[in-house]
């Protein structure tokens, strides 16, 4: 491990053996009808690690249940407040039980039982004030780089993303994998065209088959929808096709062998490089696989990501609830325009001012510094975006996680 000169990581120990680099109170609304109350509860604490997450649907969904459970028991979460309207279908009993089992303080407020909006807000804020005081005094323990789980996503991609930011994030991933950390890359819909070269990096031939199948599934899914995972701004930035975007996006995975294929909510069992399959199984249901970047970020975090590397060319400003988002700006023109939002200026690679290896190390060291008290730009700016929608998945097959 090489963390000399970049501070020592400290983590909050959790009952499942994982450690958090943040100690957040998660306020989870269990239907859109409880969203306002949840938001109002959190507002006075918005700069004090109280983050709102939730599921807007009134009707049950196994995927959403699992996502909410994984997020509420994420190592960066120290306490949980659930806000229910009362008549929605979400199984709040099971979620509360799952969180309580981990030893985390949890309270559920049912708005209809509490006497409405005002009383629920008062009750919620009192619980949070109490929990914040406890969490702020919580002890930390040393944490090793090998204990980290790191995700990567790209959003607002342009013609520079695949040349600077994405391969630099890939270099950081290579270093983390070498140090024993678990790294997750994703968006199978943005690996269309790369499936064969990716499969060749699989730890076993059977895993290679699964990797190819996951991209074929994404291609089928998007073909049915009639759109690729491609936004108008991608074309504005010089990307002409989904294959071109994919080749650039694929560079985020670095050069390590691929250890496994996971689905949202699956936690990597050990260090290594994992592909997260984010496209639902079965026939096309519930619309777009990921309606925006934050849907993917939430899934990476549900897989245990302590931090997420976000490469942008056009200039995304988002952060996330629960885990810090590191913004890597691929385009030097964008960086100059939006420096306040960007943690890393990878565009200087195009300008001949730095190499991939140097920027990769900078990204690596920045993530480690987040475990030593540093905050990302999006955290400092109060970004806590979150979105969760309906999906359906089958569990992963036995070939997806070959034994070490």
């Amino acid at each position: 491990m090489n963390t000399q000169g970049i501070g020592t990581m400290r983590g909050y120990p959790r009952s499942d053996g994982r450690k958090g680099i943040r100690n957040v109170v998660a306020v989870g609304y269990l239907v859109e009808c409880a969203h306002h109350v949840a938001r109002e509860i959190a507002i006075p604490f918005r700069e004090h690690d109280v983050h709102v997450i939730g599921f807007p649907g009134c009707y049950p969904n196994d995927y959403a249940d699992r996502m909410m459970e994984r997020l509420c028991t994420h190592p960066n979460v120290g306490a949980v407040l659930l806000v229910s309207l009362g008549c929605e279908s979400f199984n709040k009993y099971a979620l509360e039980r799952a969180v309580r089992t981990t030893g985390r303080p949890i309270k559920t407020i049912v708005i209809q039982a509490a006497g409405g909006t005002r009383k629920s807000i008062e009750e919620g804020r009192a619980f949070i004030a109490e929990q914040r005081a406890l969490l702020d005094a919580a002890p930390t323990v040393p944490m090793d780089v090998s204990e980290l789980v790191i995700g990567t996503v790209c959003g607002g991609s342009d013609g520079t993303s695949g040349i600077t930011g994405n391969p630099a994030a890939g270099r950081a991933f290579d270093q983390f994998v070498e140090e024993g950390a678990a790294c997750i890359f994703e968006e199978t819909g943005e690996l269309i065209g790369c499936e064969h070269i990716m499969a060749a990096r699989a730890a076993t031939p059977a895993l290679g088959v699964e990797l190819e199948a996951s991209v074929a599934k994404a291609a089928r899914y998007y073909a049915t929808l009639g759109y690729g995972s491609f936004a108008a701004g991608n074309a504005d930035g010089g990307l002409s096709t989904i294959e071109e975007k994919s080749m650039g996006a694929y560079a985020k995975s670095g050069a390590s062998p691929i250890t496994g294929l996971i689905k949202p909510g699956d936690i990597p069992p050990r260090g290594g490089l994992y592909l997260l399959d984010v496209v639902p199984d079965g026939e096309v249901r519930f619309g777009f696989p990921n309606i925006n970047d934050n849907a993917e970020i939430a899934e990476l975090i549900a897989c245990g990501s302590h931090a997420v590397l976000f490469v942008t060319g056009r200039g995304s400003v988002v952060g996330s609830a629960i885990s810090p988002v590191v913004k890597i700006c691929a385009n030097p023109e964008t960086y100059r325009r939006m420096e306040d939002d960007m943690d890393v200026d990878a565009g200087r690679i195009l300008e001949g001012k730095a190499g991939l290896a140097e920027v990769g190390r900078e990204i690596h060291d920045l993530v480690v510094s987040l475990g030593a008290g540093e905050r990302t730009k999006s955290e400092q700016l109060g970004h806590q975006e979150f979105i969760l929608t309906y999906k359906s998945f089958e569990p992963i097959g036995p070939a997806c996680l070959p034994a070490a």
Binding site: G159, N331, L350
Partner: protein, 122 residues
């Protein structure tokens, strides 16, 4: 896939084949497109694969230019990999984008025509 040439160390002039203007990046020797490392103004003279061309329209950073003449139906190669097919003849030095390239998988959604109609506003 990593660009074959790699950008491991800062780009030096000698990394860029003399045949091409230093503001253009060749990501893989097999590619038939070059990528703009910076914004290049309309009317500028550029060396592309040894020949001098004059840029017909401004080229934005990250956008592509044909490295040589490309015939309709030919694969567009970038990073050494196919990224789609030409829908028209593309002469050396011309902008390679959604107006003359299509995906071999799913169609590309863009608002470039709308944007042009709105006077080029972002």
């Amino acid at each position: 896939m990593e660009p074959e040439r790699g950008l491991e160390a800062p780009l030096q002039e000698e990394d860029v084949p003399a045949a091409n203007d230093p503001r253009l990046l060749l990501l893989n020797d097999g590619d038939n497109v070059l990528v703009a490392r910076t914004r290049i103004a309309e009317g500028e003279a550029l060396h592309v694969d040894g020949a001098e061309i004059r840029l017909a329209a401004p080229l934005s950073i990250g956008h592509k230019l044909a490295r040589r003449d490309i015939v309709p139906g030919e694969k567009i190669l970038k990073y050494g990999a196919p990224i789609g097919s030409a829908t028209a003849a593309i002469p050396r030095g011309a902008h390679v984008h959604v107006h003359n390239v299509k995906s071999d998988y799913t169609p590309t959604h863009h608002l470039l025509d709308e944007q042009a109609a709105a006077g080029g506003k972002a």
